[in-house]
């Protein structure tokens, strides 16, 4: 092939970004600057924070006080109790509601839409706002916190779970229905076994979320270790606060490690 054209070493021109890409970037940058001005963004804060003499008050940690049973441990146990009860009840309730929220297993269309709408509204209210609302409704204490987290973990769980059910294999369900199964037994025997490992994995994940949330629930009066954080902050005992923060760090990290390891095995 002597008449083949020698390859010309011309670099192809890079496609120019479209006009609306530029406009979007400019708009986002402008919005960022505007938002920064609105909330009082200051570059100097980044230096102020480091050079603040206030950090000296976080150290040394009075371990004697922190490890004393009545100061921290009791409240920590309460945090765990809130997390355990709300995860168990929330996830148990999420099982039927999650099935109702999936197109595959919903008993009928009105239930499908009703449960979806209600749950997305419940989920739109953050966990601590639930805490504050329930403290106002049923009084200060861990009981209100447990209610708040139960409601919130239900809402998170049904979202994760119903998405898994959506992706489940529909053929076993079809077979169960063809064999004359009524709705509930058919779902129980044909879909539940497939999605149950994911359910357990999500439940562990929700437990992790609940532990994190119940650490701060006390700030709004809903019990747990946050109660101690709030009183120590109000009395400016930042060294004790530091001790509590270190304990929180250890707890959150170890629970995450365990939960990730178990979830890896399950799914």
């Amino acid at each position: 092939m002597s008449d083949a054209v020698a390859p010309v070493a011309v670099r192809p021109r890079k496609p120019r970004p479209q006009l609306h890409t530029y406009l979007l970037v400019i708009a986002l940058a402008a919005f960022t600057v505007f938002a920064g001005r609105q909330i009082g963004f200051r570059w100097s804060s980044f230096i102020d924070i480091w050079s603040n003499p206030f950090w000296g008050r976080f150290w040394p940690v009075p371990w004697g006080w922190v490890l004393d049973r009545h100061n921290v441990l009791d409240a920590l146990v309460e945090t765990f109790q809130i997390a355990i009860i709300s995860t168990t009840i929330g996830c148990t309730l999420a099982l039927p509601i999650g099935f109702a929220m999936s197109k595959l297993t919903t008993p009928n269309t009105p239930t499908f839409w009703l449960s979806r709408t209600v749950m997305s509204i419940v989920r739109a209210i953050p966990d601590l706002l639930w805490g504050k609302l329930l403290v106002t409704a049923i009084g200060i204490g861990a009981f209100a916190g447990a209610w708040a987290l139960t409601i919130f973990s239900l809402a998170v769980m049904v979202k994760l779970f119903s998405e898994t059910v959506d992706a489940a294999d529909e053929r076993p369900l079809e077979a169960a229905r063809a064999a004359g199964g009524r709705h509930t037994p058919a779902v129980r025997t044909a879909v539940l076994p497939e999605v149950f490992p994911a359910f357990v994995a999500y439940a562990l994940y929700v437990f992790e979320l609940n532990i994190r949330a119940s650490l701060v629930l006390g700030l709004v009066g809903a019990g747990g270790i946050g109660r101690v954080v709030e009183t120590q902050r109000a009395t400016f005992n930042f060294d004790r606060l530091m001790g509590i923060l270190i304990i929180m760090f250890v707890i959150v990290m170890s629970i995450e490690q365990v939960s990730v390891a178990v979830r890896k095995r399950l799914v």
């Binding site: 603040n52 209210i125 009981f143 954080v229």
Partner: protein
């Protein structure tokens, strides 16, 4: 239950019994859960009567919230507060995104040396484990009350979570383009710029947007401790037990969260799927999986 009979051999077919070990496991776990719940309940300082009473109290308050008093909260500037929450979330996400992106390169196994990687990862973990509400509480003592302390708290927390996620994206990237660039004589910087960044950026931006959705919720909460935004309004109305006003503020929060989720969800799908292609179910399914895998990194929805 009548036993089935095999048509050919006339043998009576019985259903095989469930394996004993599995049954024992099931009973064991059920007992453990029940005992756990009972123990937890004993610590809550509440009787069984309260369990029945609480929903009734709650319902009474929900009824009092209707009709919501939009007019009163509007005159108190609640719309401005909603926008303030949005600004706090946006600036927080920006701080987190801009600082976490370079750091996540230095934390990735396939790029950074161990001496650099391990400390940065530990910093991410430490930041992640402290709730942003507590970070905000501490920052308020340094910077004073107001939205800026809240935005910085959200930003700091986002560095931890976004850093972890971006590191994972970088670690699972394809090394082919990097190899090609070094074969063509590219430097480390050009390998990163042309080999790595284009590969990971769509997913990473997806995570930024996802974090923005979470931060919108977080910033609504931050007002509870005086770090700006709509939460402060909610608290003052709740403390005075002005329930129609509470109802109005709650509806505004719900509207804000749902609108942001919708916009951001659309943008995320558009970024991951690209403009030319139609997004089919499989692809959205994968996005869901991607997000479902966020385990332990602050997926609070």
């Amino acid at each position: 239950m009548t036993a089935a009979v095999d048509q050919e051999t006339g043998e009576v077919l019985t259903r095989p019994e469930r394996p004993l070990a599995a049954r024992n496991w099931r009973i064991g776990i059920a007992v453990l859960l029940i005992v756990g719940v009972m123990w937890s309940f004993s610590g809550l300082d509440a009787g069984l009567r309260d369990v029945v009473e609480a929903p009734r109290e709650g319902w009474k308050i929900v009824k009092e919230m209707w009709p919501p008093a939009f007019k009163t909260v509007y005159h108190r500037g609640a719309v401005g507060k909603i926008f303030e929450s949005l600004y706090v979330a946006w600036i927080g996400t920006m701080i987190g995104a801009i600082l976490s992106f370079p750091l996540s390169f230095l934390a990735a196994t396939n790029i950074a040396p161990t001496a650099l990687r391990v400390p940065i990862r530990q910093v991410f973990n430490a930041i992640r484990s402290v709730p942003e509400l507590i970070v905000a509480m501490v920052l308020i003592t340094v910077l004073g009350l107001g939205p800026w302390a809240g935005a910085l708290a959200i930003g700091l927390h986002s560095i931890g979570t976004l850093g972890k996620l971006s590191t994972e994206v970088i670690e699972t990237s394809d090394e082919g383009p990097l190899e090609a660039i070094s074969a063509a004589g590219g430097t480390w910087v050009s390998r990163m710029r042309w080999g790595m960044v284009p590969q990971v950026l769509p997913t990473v931006i997806g995570y930024w947007l996802f974090r923005f959705e979470i931060n919108v919720r977080a910033s609504a909460v931050l007002g509870l401790i005086g770090a700006g935004g709509i939460g402060g309004e909610l608290v003052s109305q709740l403390n005075f037990r002005n329930f129609p006003e509470v109802g109005a503020v709650l509806l505004m929060v719900i509207a804000m969260v749902l609108v942001i989720d919708t916009i951001s969800g659309f943008a995320r799908r558009r970024i991951i799927a690209g403009s030319g292609r139609k997004i089919d179910d499989d692809e959205t399914g994968r996005t869901v999986n991607l997000i479902g895998d966020l385990g332990g990194s602050g997926l609070t929805r």
